[in-house]
């Protein structure tokens, strides 16, 4: 399995929910940049997208707050917010529990990562996906920041070793990182960004027609914005 793309984008709920308040001359190029990023992800033939995003109390509370978590479900739903407020309809988003399990097993070698077999998406993930993968053509793997900036009960930055290990696995991120994974690409065909370990063995999965079908889905995505 190879990482074929990495990128960072904004997720603020006003990007969709209060779009009418933004001057069009600022908003429209911003939307165009999202579409360009979505096209770039599609062009890699990626099948899965790891979204490392802020998590706004949609899943975790102060009774049990993981420093770092990855979702492990075949399906997610979102947004939790009032869909009329966010202007993104509530929907099911496809995941892949088995792919998550293999990623988590690898990350756990060096990082104290929690896993969650249930995960509701909030605007932190739904806003980027609204632009980057509106047809849900990609398999989505949600992950939180290593140090969620919710309550400053712990250091804002995770301990160096943990943070370093996490960034070694997924690349450095401080904003909201989308990582696209292309399971079919051989690990010696390096794409953009760091490689995932060879031991994940995802080369056995996927088929060329599936990649092409998803590429076509990307092309056919509705022009919402």
């Amino acid at each position: 399995m190879t990482l074929v793309f990495s990128g960072i984008c904004s997720h603020g709920p006003g990007i969709t929910g209060r779009a009418d308040l933004a001057p069009p001359e600022l908003r429209d190029p911003f939307y165009a940049a999202y579409r360009k990023m979505g096209d770039a992800i599609c062009a890699t033939g990626a099948e899965a997208l790891i979204v490392i995003a802020a998590e706004h109390f949609a899943n975790f509370f102060m009774n049990n707050m993981p420093a770092y978590a990855i979702g492990m479900a075949d399906q997610y739903e979102g947004p939790i917010e009032d869909p009329d407020w966010l202007r993104i309809p509530r929907q099911q988003v496809r995941g892949d529990a088995d792919l998550s399990r293999r990623l988590i097993a690898e990350v756990q070698q060096t990082v104290d990562v929690a896993y969650a077999e249930e995960w509701k998406f909030d605007h932190g993930i739904m806003v980027p996906l609204h632009f980057l993968d509106p047809a849900n053509a990609l398999t989505i793997i949600p992950a939180t920041h290593p140090a969620p900036p919710r309550l400053r009960l712990r250091p804002r930055v995770a301990p160096r070793r943990r943070c370093g290990a996490a960034t070694h696995r997924f690349g450095r991120h401080r904003g909201h990182l989308a990582l696209a994974v292309h399971p079919r690409q051989r690990t010696d065909q390096r794409g953009v960004g760091p490689r995932l370990p060879r031991s994940l063995g995802l080369g056995r999965r996927g088929a060329a027609d599936r990649v092409h079908r998803r590429r076509n889905l990307c092309r056919r995505r509705p022009g919402r914005l």
Partner: protein, 108 residues
């Protein structure tokens, strides 16, 4: 003291349509499940967004609750400003205010 309980109610409400329906049908019955002071209970049921803000509810929780209550964005911001004017500085949580709105810091 029970800011945790206020936030837990809102956390569970924000993410669960079934609890949202129950809250709309009988907010008091939902509030009864949590260990709340009378002030907190009133702030939740009214709802008094400004007071919830002053009590220390995290903005990521309060914002979603305001959206659920169909409070427009500009109104939401204004209610928080009004809350500090009416109820005083934020008492707890990550936004706890250690100075008043008009208080000078180091003479500035």
């Amino acid at each position: 003291m029970s800011l945790y309980q206020v936030q837990k109610l809102l956390f569970e409400l924000n993410r669960d349509p079934a609890i949202q329906r129950a809250f709309e049908a009988d907010g008091g019955a939902v509030a009864d499940r949590y260990d709340l002071t009378e002030e907190e209970r009133r702030a939740l049921l009214e709802p008094d967004i400004g007071l919830l803000y002053v009590l220390g509810v995290n903005g990521q929780i309060l914002m979603h609750f305001a959206a659920f209550k169909q409070i427009a964005w500009a109104d939401y911001l204004q209610r928080m400003r009004d809350g500090v004017r009416i109820h005083g500085p934020i008492r707890a949580g990550v936004y706890k205010m250690t100075t008043g709105l008009d208080e000078k810091v180091a003479g500035v």
